[in-house]
């Protein structure tokens, strides 16, 4: 089970990113738990400055802008 955290102040891109990851995981058949986190302190601790930021199993994989679908598949398959 991959722990996915999507960081952002509740912007529409953040919500969309979380949804894209859930859908990609479902289509790949990979079990994930996607969480949306708005806490700025937690975000800063990970060194993320631009949103949406994505952390998978404690590792920062993305910061700023909507990720591409191929990129998401790459994270999930890693």
């Amino acid at each position: 089970m991959k722990q996915v955290k999507v960081y952002g102040p509740g912007c529409s891109r953040c919500a969309l990113t979380a949804k894209m990851i859930e859908e990609a995981a479902a289509s790949l058949g990979i079990p994930v738990k996607v969480e949306k986190i708005t806490d700025m302190a937690d975000m800063a601790r990970h060194g993320i400055l631009s949103t949406p930021g994505v952390v998978i199993d404690g590792k920062v994989v993305h910061a700023g802008g909507l990720p591409k679908i191929e990129t998401i598949n790459g994270w999930l398959n890693a």
């Binding site: 800063a44 990970h46 631009s50 949103t51 590792k59 910061a63």
Partner: protein, 353 residues
Amino acid sequence: MTEHSYAPASSETVEPWKWLAGVGAALVVWLLLYRSLIPFSEWVVARLPVDRHSHLGEALAFFIYDTPKVLLLLTLVVFAMGIVRSFFSPEQTRNLLVGHREGMANVLAAALGVVTPFCSCSAVPIFIGFVSAGIPLGVTFSFLVAAPMVNEVALGLLFGLVGWKVALAYLAFGLSIAVVAGWVIGRLGLEHWLEDWVRNLRADVSQDVSSAPMTVIDRINAGIDAVKDIVGRVWMWIIAGIAAGALIHGYVPSDTLAAIMGREAWWSVPAAVLLGIPMYSNAAGIIPVIEALLGKGAALGTVLAFMMSVIALSLPEMIILRKVLSLRLIAVFIAVVASGILAVGYLFNLLFS
């Protein structure tokens, strides 16, 4: 809000040269449109049932000419900067700033503020991110002053509507204010005025977000995304600003305005700065107003002081920053930046007389 499609862009199937050719063709169309602005607006106004030289006729001509002009300029500038900004990110900017001494770092922070992607919604994450990475408070402020004030929208529109000299002077003085204000705040040593949780936060900057290398096509797409995002977000401000500019252009008598905002009135610079603090507008919305005020004989320094104050010292941004800064620190920030703007206002009035 722009719709984002899930489907991956079919960038693999199209050759990069076709994208570049597309950009070239779009530029030609842009140029043709831009050059037909005056004939087009005069043609439209001539068909309206109002006298061209009446107050209403002047106001309408201003509005009909300026709206497409500003939108065209904005689209071009935002597209170009979207491409430039695809080379920068707040994380890279932070890593560039860590470990520089104050002084040099203030200059670097202000310069990076111009090219780093920024919106007022990202002010807090960037502020916390910088401070928690050990970047001095003053350097962080240099960035936070420059980023909203000296941005591509302000510069591009000043260049297009008021002229290159003013745009260049705005860039130089805007950066100077950011550097000096940040440096002064740094000298004051106000770190203990930060909210406790911010001061105690230590960021993990070891994790480098290794983004995939971008292709030419990706960068062109970044430009297109920026246009969709920014033009989609600010067009209402622009229409409102042009409407205000049109009213000034058509109805406000020149001698009245020159008396209030002219060079002779020494108190008009501080008044303009004070007036600008509670007001909030985007650079794109305020510049048509600036254009109209200048056309009516307002002094350049006074008008630019007003513009800088509206953009750089905005109440909504202060309220957002209140999450991480104490009220005292916000007061110092406003005082230092307002003094800088005041100095620039007087200096401009001296230089461009």
